[in-house]
Symmetry: C2
Subunit: 425 residues, 2 copies
């Protein structure tokens, strides 16, 4: 990844709903125009018009059950090319010097993992020269790149976020604004907690924990990339009136003046709790269990191993409810193949996961205790606990999930601006 470029370069990314029609493209172009008027050079990353990628994927699926991922990529990448050209034309109509770039024209270099390619480099010289010549906006088709073999690649669903962050990193952009259909990152899901509050700032690490827990605002990889290259990332709505403090800034924790203790409450509604009883306790047993599960495509989330008694232990893990059958088969097959022995496999499919996330936990004791107390006060039994540096997660009965989210949002005063800075002892 090369770093260089203009002092005042801004990256702006517009998702599919923000460019779904010619009218919305015009609206997005006006936001770009305002930033140009503010003195910025702008790289605009566009997604396909909403619905177009699904149409293309449908046609690919129509060809048969198995397909060449290289051809899949060649087909589904075309939606972004259309939007890029239309955005450039719309900007030109507003007398803003603009041109479109398809992935291969930059080129956005990727590896050859078609359908889920990773960006390996973005040469900046040619585009930088065009900016130096007076171009004000480069419109780049998101989600796509080109492999070392010269084939078109795509970055996976939501990949345009990653395109945007990669350009911001390569060009040393002052900020990367992600325009989407939500107005920022919230302390929790506003559909569950009416008083959920939009966060002005959130640390990269917190965003990663929230994203993987279900706050699907940004593609996780784009946040990782932003963290690594220290790209200031702002999420904001393309449908609201603009103001300076719109959206949520995802940034390094050093840019968040007050050390948040808890930033938000996340949940995953359909988690199953799987328990293997009477597992022989020997070196390599975890690998013997979770290797076959990974090969079977089971997304194992929490893993808890209880203490050992008389050479045997119990192993608990969670996975999405709809993968329980697959998980059971993988474990039974592994046992049959002599991989390991256990006495019983229990599946509890009526659980949900609730987590509190915050970088402030690192330096504050008592967060876990306060969390458990709040759940106890509501009469909610905790089935499994796991913790990381900045996250505490519990599995509970699914019927209590919304109650738990509400109770945790309350106990950490997340509805009050700035309240997340302190924790009640």
């Amino acid at each position: 990844m090369q770093i260089g470029g203009a002092m005042s370069l801004l990256v702006m990314k517009f998702g599919g709903t923000s460019v779904a029609t010619p009218d919305r493209i015009r609206r997005a172009a006006k936001r770009v125009g305002r930033e140009v008027a503010n003195g910025h050079d702008v790289i605009v990353i566009v997604s396909a018009m909403a619905g177009k990628t699904n149409e293309l994927v449908g046609w690919v699926n129509d060809t048969g059950p198995f397909f060449d991922a290289r051809e899949y990529d060649a087909v589904v990448s075309s939606g972004e090319n259309v939007t890029a050209g239309l955005m450039a034309l719309t900007l030109q109509e507003m007398e803003i010097p603009a041109r479109s770039w398809q992935g291969w024209q930059v080129p956005v270099q990727t590896n050859s993992s078609h359908g889920a390619a990773r960006i390996t480099g973005i040469p900046t010289e040619t585009m930088a020269a065009r900016f130096a010549d007076g171009m004000k906006v480069a419109v780049v088709a998101g989600f796509q790149g080109v492999s070392p073999e010269g084939r078109i690649t795509t970055l996976g669903r939501g990949g345009s976020d990653t395109t945007a962050v990669a350009f911001a990193a390569a060009f040393g952009a002052v900020r990367c604004d992600i325009y989407t259909d939500v107005d920022g990152v919230y302390t929790t899901d506003p559909r569950i907690v009416r008083r959920a509050r939009k966060l002005d700032r959130i640390a990269f690490e917190e965003m990663l924990e929230l994203a993987s827990l279900g706050a699907k605002v940004l593609q996780t990889r784009s946040v990782e990339l932003a963290m690594r290259y220290k790209v200031k990332l702002r999420v904001l709505s393309s449908f609201d009136e603009y103001d300076e403090n719109a959206g949520t800034l995802v940034c390094g924790e050093e840019e968040i003046m007050e050390s948040n203790v808890v930033a938000g409450v996340a949940y995953a509604r359909d988690e199953a709790k799987m328990t293997l009883l009477g597992v022989e306790d020997r070196p390599g047993i975890a690998a013997a269990i979770f290797g076959p599960l990974a090969e079977a495509g089971v997304n194992v989330d929490m893993i808890v191993q209880n203490i050992s008694e008389q050479g045997h232990t119990d192993m608990t893990f969670s996975c999405p409810v709809d993968q329980v059958g697959r998980a059971q088969k993988a474990i039974e097959d592994a046992q049959a193949a002599g991989g390991f022995a256990y006495s019983e496999l229990l599946a509890d499919t009526d659980t949900a996961k609730v987590s509190v996330v915050g970088i402030g936990m690192r330096s504050h004791a008592g967060v876990a205790a306060q969390m458990f107390r709040a759940l106890r006060d509501e009469g909610i039994n905790i089935k499994v606990i796991t913790t990381s540096e900045i996250k505490i997660s519990v599995l509970i009965d699914r019927k209590y999930m919304e109650l738990a989210v509400q109770a945790l949002h309350d106990t950490f005063d997340l509805d009050k601006p700035g309240a997340e800075r302190s924790v009640r002892a």
Copy 2:
């Protein structure tokens, strides 16, 4: 243009109606599969799914009245990319080794005339190496190329025909099959003459005269290119059952055993006859008249200059009826600017053009006489006559046009197979 490649390579081109749905793509793929089974390597050229290019053009027009032709090309070329990928996937599903190529990947080199670019070269090495490695079908997105500046270009409407012929020339293909929604080239329009007959073969020169006269089966440029590089071009329907002699072969006249006298009867319904009376007869007068007409975008077709009397002459030309106003203004402006003098400008907007075309005319006298006799027998007055080596055209009253076409089709026995070989004296 490089010449080389496999002995048994075939080019097959499918137009928009032939790939309009996944089902039709499958049907087209089966035709490709049959040629592969026959031992051919195949280059398939595809258009966009019917209607898709119009949708894209509509969006471009939505951005505003003026647009950057480079961005127009970037947008409208995307339809062919989709079809190319889907065709490759469909062939793979039939277990035929295939892959798609977008214009820039070949690359199809063109000049920078966006929207109407001309192909300047097609490197064959990479694709030939893939054929040598076992690939059986290369699916190429038609209609598009890449400029020396690395921008995407398009070849103009119908440009996929030209793409197909250019590949056939570059690879020395044994034949270039153009699959479309008509089953070949007819002796005249079957809507006018019920007994119009499909021609098995037609010479390039005849096809050019027929195409420019309104038989819109093949893009004119593709026929010119085929003639220059001696590409055997076959036009056939993708909707009919296949047989060996399907369609019409467009080829060099040396491949047509019998010298056709008349191959077909063409017409242009809405031609206007314009006459300038009393034009001063001096060197340069034709340029003084037709220069301004060309600059005004008037498509002048026939031009006839009568004999001069006392230093003045009459000049007659034809043009499409809807360009009469533009032609009048151009001539009046040129006169006002002192370009030339004339006494009167007459416009007859009730005329049509009827032509007989055939390479056999070169060696057969009497064709014109027979044509004029047939028209006389129907009581049709001839207003203007022009002739070329292989075509005789007349302007007549529009109300007699269908009668004239029928009479000429009859007099040259065009409904009878092989009858076009002789001419009645």
